[in-house]
């Protein structure tokens, strides 16, 4: 009886290990196939490996694919690391070498990371503060994009009419709720700025995790919220209204790739800079809005969108 069990146990052990081996085999095949696709791009060993991360929303995914695919087309080895969460997390990640390339908004660097005391007066000033900040951490900033994507104080157009407001300053004395990503609470470009610069007092902050601001506005879960100027919804003026930011707390938010200075060495570094700047120069507001719309409305993937845009502009 015991013997028989023993033999069965041995068989069992074999079957289990066989099953596990099979599982690992299948998985390995799966990943091998995947790396095979990346391997098709010709890789030159002297070129530095790029570990590309993004923040966690649609526009960043698209930007990541745009820079990443353009670099791959020039023979760089790019590993897409997925999203790194908020700017603060991305900043920590790149300073600790967990990635060496990510697209960031200049105003976010200047105001939220560098914590500039007074909001910069122009896009240029914003860029130079941002560049100084990154340089102090062994990083650098390539050229900014022509488009800028700033936060916008967005509400349903119906609500704006009802309250009779056109600018953020008009909200003074009115109680309202404001939906935004959690980090908004402590940011000068967000709730903190409304309080200290616009002196709005009756704000109820509604932190959102992964849910879109527009969903919350549509469902009347918030009076207003933090939209982005490149969101396709911002084009639907009959439905959504962005209040004018008369005191410029939202700042100047052009995008520029943040990268490790180590990537700039030699001829490969020059090629990298040239490639990224060529991509950035094509990213106008109209281009970015079209790409965001393709993502949000037509459900194209960031990868497809970037591929289409780069090919159309001879960058791939």
């Amino acid at each position: 009886m015991v013997r028989k069990h023993m033999r069965r146990a041995a068989k069992a052990a074999f079957a289990v290990s066989f099953g596990v081996a099979l599982l690992i085999g299948i998985t390995a095949c799966g990943s091998a196939k995947k790396s095979g696709v990346a391997g098709e791009q010709k890789t030159i060993s002297s070129k530095p490996a790029i570990i590309l991360g993004t923040k966690n929303f649609g526009e960043e995914y698209i930007l990541g694919q745009l820079y990443g695919q353009a670099l791959q087309a020039k023979g760089f080895k790019v590993s897409f690391k997925g999203s790194f969460g908020s700017s603060e997390l991305a900043d920590v990640a790149i300073r600790h070498g967990k990635m060496n390339f990510y697209p960031e908004y200049t105003g976010v660097i200047a105001l939220d990371l560098a914590k500039a005391k007074t909001p910069p007066k122009s896009a240029d000033q914003t860029y130079s503060i941002a560049k100084t900040y990154e340089a102090s951490h062994g990083l650098t900033l390539l050229n900014p994009t022509p488009f800028y994507d700033s936060d916008t104080f967005t509400m349903l157009t119906k609500t704006a009419h009802k309250l009779g407001v056109k600018t953020i300053a008009d909200m003074k004395g009115k109680p309202f709720s404001y939906a935004a990503l959690p980090e908004c609470d402590k940011r000068i470009t967000c709730i903190l700025g409304f309080k200290t610069i616009y002196h709005l007092t009756h704000i109820k902050f509604v932190p959102i995790g992964t849910i879109s601001v527009y969903t919350l506005l549509d469902q009347k879960k918030a009076t207003s919220g933090d939209g982005f100027s490149t969101d396709p919804q911002q084009l639907q003026h009959s439905k959504y209204t962005a209040l004018t930011d008369t005191k410029h707390i939202f700042g100047f938010q052009n995008v520029a790739p943040v990268l490790s200075k180590k990537l700039l060495k030699g001829a490969a570094g020059k090629l990298l800079v040239k490639t990224c700047n060529a991509v950035s120069s094509k990213l106008t507001l109209a281009a970015m809005q079209a790409m965001n719309k393709a993502y949000v409305v037509d459900k194209a993937t960031p990868k497809q969108i970037a591929d289409g845009f780069l090919k159309a502009n001879g960058l791939k």
Partner: protein, 240 residues
């Protein structure tokens, strides 16, 4: 802006193509999207998920087995070990994945460490309980046959505890598949990644949410069935 910007002609904005009416209206389920993105989104995510689970349960089993040997051999060690695995299980996955990031970085290791620590709860309990449930008479008989302690363990206790142990592996596997979807909040890997991406879209991209969610459920049920069949083949004497 007069800054360091390249002078450039305007960009060519290509036609990105229209999504189907089903997609534009965000219907509950658009089969065409699933067909189109099986290869680039769903299948890779499914394989990643399978990999995450297989590694987590494998390593978790190894650790739980060693711990269970300790808890089984020295009874006084059982309550504290049990309590530790209990405690690990109560840490919300949402927090654990984040807390591990400074230690293990934004890598698959982070996900695995968290997943492994969750498997210990079920596996440890089941292995110890299975070993303890071996009737005293059987052990007595084994001793009577002149088997050593090690022989008794390998030839008697372990085979008799196998059904309970495998039941634990089933539960651990199925729950790991479920918990692993949360990892995508921190690191986009596995089936959680398309789920989170779908949740972020305005009005929630339903087709992506449902197809990735359904794949997670199907994967769990398939794994459960495979393990149940395995359990039957391995321990036919305990057929339920």
């Amino acid at each position: 802006m007069t800054g360091p910007r390249l002078a450039a002609g305007g960009p060519v904005i290509p036609n990105f193509g229209h999504g189907t009416a089903c997609l534009r209206h965000n219907h509950w389920f658009c089969p065409s999207w699933v067909r189109e993105h099986w290869g680039d989104i769903l299948q890779p995510a499914l394989l990643q998920h399978l990999e995450l689970t297989a590694i987590a349960v494998g390593i978790g089993f190894g650790i739980a087995f060693l711990l269970a040997l300790v808890g089984f051999r020295w009874r006084f060690a059982d309550p504290p070990l049990g309590a530790v695995t209990d405690l690990l299980y109560t840490i919300p996955s949402l927090a654990l994945f984040q807390l591990l990031v400074p230690v293990t970085g934004l890598t698959v290791t982070t996900i695995e460490v968290a997943l492994v620590s969750y498997t210990l709860f079920v596996l440890y309990r089941n292995i110890v309980a299975g070993l303890r449930a071996v009737p005293a008479e059987v052990l007595e008989a084994a001793r009577g046959m002149g088997l050593t302690r090690a022989q008794t363990f390998l030839r008697v206790e372990l085979p008799l505890a196998a059904p309970a142990i495998l039941a634990g592996v089933r539960v651990a596997t199925v729950s790991t598949i479920s918990i692993a979807t949360v990892a995508a909040l921190v690191i986009s890997y596995g089936l959680g990644a398309p789920i989170f991406e779908a949740l972020q879209q305005p009005d929630i991209f339903r087709t992506e949410l449902l197809s990735a969610g359904a794949l997670a459920i199907l994967l769990a049920l398939a794994a459960d069935t495979v393990l149940a069949l395995l359990q039957r083949t391995l321990t036919p004497w305990s057929r339920l």
